[in-house]
């Protein structure tokens, strides 16, 4: 029996139905819990919150090569705490997991790292901002952030430059995840300009494009009866953006939430039921059968689009497997974005 598998089975249980996806539905005893009316404090809140059970720094980027080919890049650092304390040395209860992926229309490269907190192998500092696991980094000021990762068969080295303000989801960053009230703190930087180089087995390619950073932390963001989610970050050619997610429940019902981010800088949170997402076509990707074409509707903003995966096989074959990849948008709006689907078997 592999320790790693056991570790993950215990800390981050795989969608055992009653436990929710990735163990996010487990009890939060001893950990801090998000409450409404939280006053965000920067730069401190860019750093880790060890008294919360889980937290992530999550970047997805839609990139274009010199020949117009679409690429997608993901850089993610997860923090999981076994106990609500920072700790020092090997006995620190903070554990870190990194996922990196590079998606081309025909290939999907993915790799994973695990690390203990407290020994310097992985961590996040708020000021100056730096998030790292092994040689992977996401570090630097907002206007010149370096994002690097590598696997056995791919690498990327990108510079991110913020082109707009932070966006706070839900009630000023208090993002409710179920009718029972489970919630997380959730904000994003949806407008990073990107330039740099990606490396595939065929060589280096210079790319430019847009990236989206999600920051979220909580101790129990899912209800027990929620099994997974479908998450969309859509950037329309009009300059408007939309974040929306559907949390699927055991009984077939779902809980939705969306944020409209206008080109003018205005944001609006849209309540449960405002967003609908309907699978149009499913595909047997390497790990599970997943919808790779969706009809996404947000009638309040006149959105009725078809969202299609650029590479239907963007399966993240990591300890906790899921689907994550770049998408194209057509219909009432056109554009590009990212789709994440969890809890499929």
């Amino acid at each position: 029996m592999n320790v790693k598998a056991i570790l993950l089975a215990i800390c981050l249980p795989l969608a055992a139905a009653a436990q929710g996806f990735g163990g996010l539905g487990t009890n939060a005893a001893g950990f801090a819990v998000p409450t409404p009316g939280y006053a965000f404090d920067f730069p401190a809140d860019a750093g880790p919150h060890p008294d919360y059970r889980i937290e992530w720094w999550y970047v997805t980027a839609n990139l274009t090569g010199p020949d117009g080919t679409d690429y997608g890049v993901q850089w993610t650092l997860f923090r999981t705490a076994l106990a609500p304390e920072a700790g020092d040395g090997w006995s620190s209860p903070q554990l870190w997991m990194g996922h990196a992926a590079l998606t081309t229309p025909t290939a999907h490269y993915v790799t994973e790292r695990l690390a203990r907190g407290g020994i310097g192998q992985a961590g996040v500092t708020a000021a100056p901002f730096a998030a790292w696991i092994d040689e992977w980094t996401l570090a630097g000021p907002d206007n010149a952030m370096q994002m690097r990762a590598a696997g056995p068969d791919f690498a990327y080295d990108l510079t991110l430059s913020a082109q707009g303000p932070l966006v706070f989801h839900g009630d000023n960053g208090y993002s409710v995840k179920s009718a029972a009230g489970q919630a997380s703190y959730y904000y994003s930087q949806p407008r990073f300009g990107v330039s740099g180089t990606i490396t595939t087995p065929d060589g280096d390619i210079s790319v430019t494009g847009q990236a989206w950073l999600d920051r979220e932390w909580s101790s129990q963001p899912l209800a027990d009866n929620q099994t997974g989610w479908d998450w969309f970050s859509l950037s329309f050619d009009t300059g408007d953006k939309m974040m929306g997610f559907v949390l699927r429940q055991l009984d077939g019902a779902s809980y939705t939430s969306a944020t409209w981010i206008g080109a003018d800088g205005m944001t609006a949170a849209l309540p449960d039921g405002a967003l609908t997402a309907t699978p149009l076509e499913t595909h047997q990707s390497p790990g599970a059968k997943v919808p790779i074409e969706w009809r996404v509707e947000l009638p309040a903003r006149g959105v009725d689009v078809t969202v299609t995966a650029i590479n239907p096989d963007a399966w993240m074959a990591t300890s906790i497997p899921y689907w994550e990849g770049p998408v194209r948008i057509a219909g009432s709006h056109s554009g590009r974005g990212y789709l994440e689907m969890t809890g499929y078997e």
Binding site: V3, I10, A83, G89, W90, S91, R116, E135, A150
Partner: protein, 796 residues
């Protein structure tokens, strides 16, 4: 009909319980020795496998610190932050248990404590201390403060696994790492190892410390012993089955005359044999378990001492081993009985019963046997010159032993013929003629004795040669009286300054990893000192090798490198871009990789980064204790950084004593089997010999005298066989040393002779034969005259 036939066949054993005992005991003994040895081997292999499975030993590349040092944890983090996917291991010993601390998050897949399913992984990681080991290991470890001891049967013996954080505090090795396991897949864009840890070295998987390979020679010896013992046992079984078949010919004739079909008869006899094989097999496996359980602690101690391999001292029952023991008993019986069944199938329906036909037929086949033996020995002779590989080496052993065994009756017959021709006087003439007449009946037992003796001579010559060579090699390698190790270059410099006025000579020990002639090797820098000139012996060397080495004019290489790369004295060797002529080749036993020695001046030029941290100190032996004390008191060097030569030697020799215990035990066991074979042959022959002895008695020889002559005959035949076994054993030793060892390990041991050992072995063989003959001779001496008289009244 079938039942009646079966009862008739079985009645033979009821009338001849001794034969039944011979058959069962021979088979059981053979199975016991074979399966005992196999059990020991299997236990050791299982231990290596468990170590490899739980610790990744041999499976993955490793990064190691300089000898005697550890890797700072900061270096580990720096490697990870540079993109090297390595996993830290901190290990040490506590109460004789190897404590291995792992980081389960970075360890390559599959490593780590097995079956932690019920464990709390949070507790494993938290530093609260979970220790996984077998119950035996946990007992040895004793209570550990703040730790949960968790019994895990699949763990390697003598090894306990815990979290690296807990291991560091347990072993008092804070922020220290013993070695790094390198994951098989590494990301793009890694800088070279030397950029981050210039003093670290990368050791490729399956090189250097692969226990399986290192310990192969030991297991090879055990297996050879087991196989020979089994072969001897099968000789006994073959003899017993053959005799029983001949004696049962009247029964077979009667049964067939009564209408029992031949096929059914064969099936019945085969079933009878298989039943006996299974009974004997079960007894043999049980005895084998006892043998293995008795030997295993010594074997475990030997392996730990010689190779640092942890092997469980207690035996586990493995189903595969039980089955293979039974399998070999059944297979052996099938081989031994096949010939008899074949003859039965072709026997004319009404062939006369010939109780002596079995022995006579053996005599008639002697000529063919002689030709076959000659052919096999010729093949062995050719192989002796041509054989180079391991397979050819074993073929040589097989042809030599089988050829010699087959030749034995022919050679003994020839010797007896010469003796008979020279005999004067009627008693002497009768004695020699009768001995010749008896030879076919005894030849199988004598072959068994020959093989047992030869194996003992061969293996003990090899082991003793190894001991002598290794002791001399230890004297050569450990020529300094005291060895000290410094923590750092600064401490090394201070040590040298401190020691210079207090010692006769300080010999730095410095080495560098290098690929030589395409093989992984290490290069040593040696100071020119009389120590080397007086102690080192070369297998081959140019004139004034030491003088030229001192002048930086060449290099010395070990035998492994010279054999693998086909290098001879005078050949050029490229070391780090400079070409040196080879000045000498030295024996280097127990070291798996190549080695070369340069003078310290060219060494320092080629490897400027190598720093000597270990030093050999020459002082008068009676001053060692004083210097140790001074170093500890005045210089403050910890005791564990000093090793005195006498200590290492005593330890190494102690290891050999344990090896010898095992060899001696197997010697006595195989000879006992051979003695048993002789006893059984004599006992079965005794009854049939009465008609031949009765006329001699009638002519006036007393029964007592007849008994003495019987005893004398057995000892004489044993003496002749032993005399023939000696050259065979020496040939066997030569084949093991010069062919098998070279193929298996890359070095050739010089062969030494041990006449006293051979005398003692010969004495044991004679004793075994005499003891075996004592009972039949005594029985003969006390045969009632009526029984002898009855011979004349029998109608035959």
């Amino acid at each position: 009909m079938t039942r009646a036939g079966f009862a008739a066949l079985l009645s033979h054993w009821r009338r001849n319980p001794l034969q039944l005992f011979t058959l069962l005991a021979g088979l059981a003994l053979a199975t016991a020795l074979w399966s005992g040895v196999q059990a020991v081997n299997a236990e050791a292999r299982a231990s290596y496998d468990a170590a490899a499975a739980t610790l990744g030993e041999g499976q993955f590349d490793q990064i190691l610190p300089p000898e005697g040092q550890t890797i700072p944890q900061d270096t580990y983090i720096a490697l990870r932050r540079a993109g090297w996917l390595v996993s830290p291991v901190t290990e040490g010993r506590m109460n004789g248990v190897r404590i291995v601390g792992l980081d389960p998050l970075t360890a390559p897949g599959g490593l780590g404590p097995v079956q932690v399913v019920d464990g709390d992984i949070g507790a494993f990681l938290s530093g609260r201390g979970q220790i996984y080991a077998t119950a035996e290991t946990l007992d040895r470890l004793g209570a550990v403060a703040n730790a949960d001891l968790i019994v895990t049967p699949d763990m390697a013996p003598g090894t306990a696994i815990t979290d690296i954080g807990f291991a560091q505090s347990l072993l008092d090795m804070h922020d220290e790492i013993t070695r790094l396991i390198v994951a098989p897949a590494q990301p793009l864009g890694r800088p070279p190892l030397s950029d981050i840890g210039p003093d670290l070295r990368l050791q490729a998987a399956q090189s250097g410390s692969d226990l399986g390979r290192l310990t192969d020679s030991f297991h090879l010896n055990l297996t050879a012993f087991g196989l020979l013992a089994f072969a001897v046992g099968i000789f006994i079984v073959h003899g017993a089955i053959g005799l029983a078949f001949e004696q049962r010919r009247p029964v077979v004739r009667t049964l067939r005359a009564l209408g029992m079909p031949l096929n059914r008869l064969i099936v019945l006899i085969a079933a009878e044999l298989m039943a006996m094989a299974l009974i004997a097999g079960v007894i043999g496996v049980a005895l084998g378990y006892l043998i293995a359980a008795t030997l295993l602690p010594d074997v475990a101690a030997t392996l730990r001492g010689l190779y640092g391999a942890d092997v469980s001292g207690t035996l586990q029952l493995r189903p595969a081993w039980w089955l293979s023991g039974l399998g070999i008993a059944v297979g052996g019986t099938a081989v031994a009985g096949a010939g008899a069944l074949w003859r039965l199938a072709r026997m004319p329906l009404l062939a006369a019963a010939q109780p002596r036909a079995w022995a006579m037929a053996a005599g008639a086949g002697a000529r063919w046997q002689g030709f076959l033996a000659l052919g096999l020995l010729v093949v062995a002779g050719v192989l002796a010159f041509a054989a180079t590989g391991l397979v050819a080496g074993f073929a040589l052993l097989a042809t030599l032993l089988i050829g010699a065994a087959l030749a034995l009756p022919v050679v003994l017959g020839a010797i007896l013929r010469v003796c008979a021709a020279r005999a004067r006087g009627p008693v002497a003439q009768w004695f020699w003629a009768d001995t010749r007449q008896q030879l076919p009946g005894l030849s199988l037992a004598l072959m068994a004795l020959l093989l047992a003796m030869a194996a003992n001579v061969g293996v003990s010559t090899m082991v003793s040669s190894f001991r002598l060579t290794f002791t001399a090699f230890l004297d050569q390698v450990l020529s300094s009286e005291l060895y000290v190790t410094a923590d750092s270059p600064e401490q090394a410099a201070a040590l040298v300054a401190f020691l210079t006025p207090r010692t006769d000579a300080i010999l730095p020990i410095q080495s560098a990893e290098q690929t030589l002639a395409g093989y992984p090797a290490e290069v040593f820098g040696a100071r020119d000192d009389a120590t080397y000139r007086t102690n080192w012996q070369f297998l081959d060397a140019a004139p004034d090798a030491w003088g030229r080495l001192a002048a930086g004019d060449g290099v010395l290489v070990n035998e492994q490198l010279s054999r693998r790369a086909s290098l001879a004295v005078g050949d050029p060797l490229d070391i780090g871009g400079t070409v040196f002529p080879i000045l000498g080749i030295y024996g280097d036993y127990g070291n798996p990789i190549g080695q070369a020695i340069l003078n310290e001046v060219p060494f320092a030029r080629l490897f400027p980064e190598a720093v000597a941290l270990r030093f050999g100190l020459r002082i008068a032996p009676d001053q060692v204790a004083g210097l140790t004390e001074t170093l500890s008191q005045d210089f403050g060097l910890p005791r564990d950084q000093m090793v005195d030569q006498a200590g290492i030697k005593a330890f190494s020799l102690n290891v050999f004593e344990r090896t010898f215990t095992v060899t001696d035990a197997l010697n006595i066991l195989t000879l006992s089997v051979a003695g048993f074979a002789i006893l059984m042959s004599l006992l079965t022959l005794a009854a049939m010999r009465l008609p031949q002895l009765a006329p001699v008695w009638a002519l006036g020889m007393t029964r007592g005298r007849l008994g003495w002559l019987e005893l004398l005959r057995a000892v004489l035949l044993a003496l002749l066989t032993t005399a023939l076994a000696l050259p065979l054993g020496l040939a066997l030793a030569w084949a093991l040393l010069a062919v098998v060892n070279v193929a298996a390990f890359g070095w050739r041991l010089p062969m030494y002779f041990f006449p006293l050992d051979y005398l003692r072995l010969g004495g044991l063989a004679m004793l075994a034969a005499a003891l075996a003959a004592l009972w039949p001779a005594r029985k003969l001496a006390r045969t009632p005259p009526a029984a002898l008289l009855q011979v004349f009244s029998h109608e035959r």
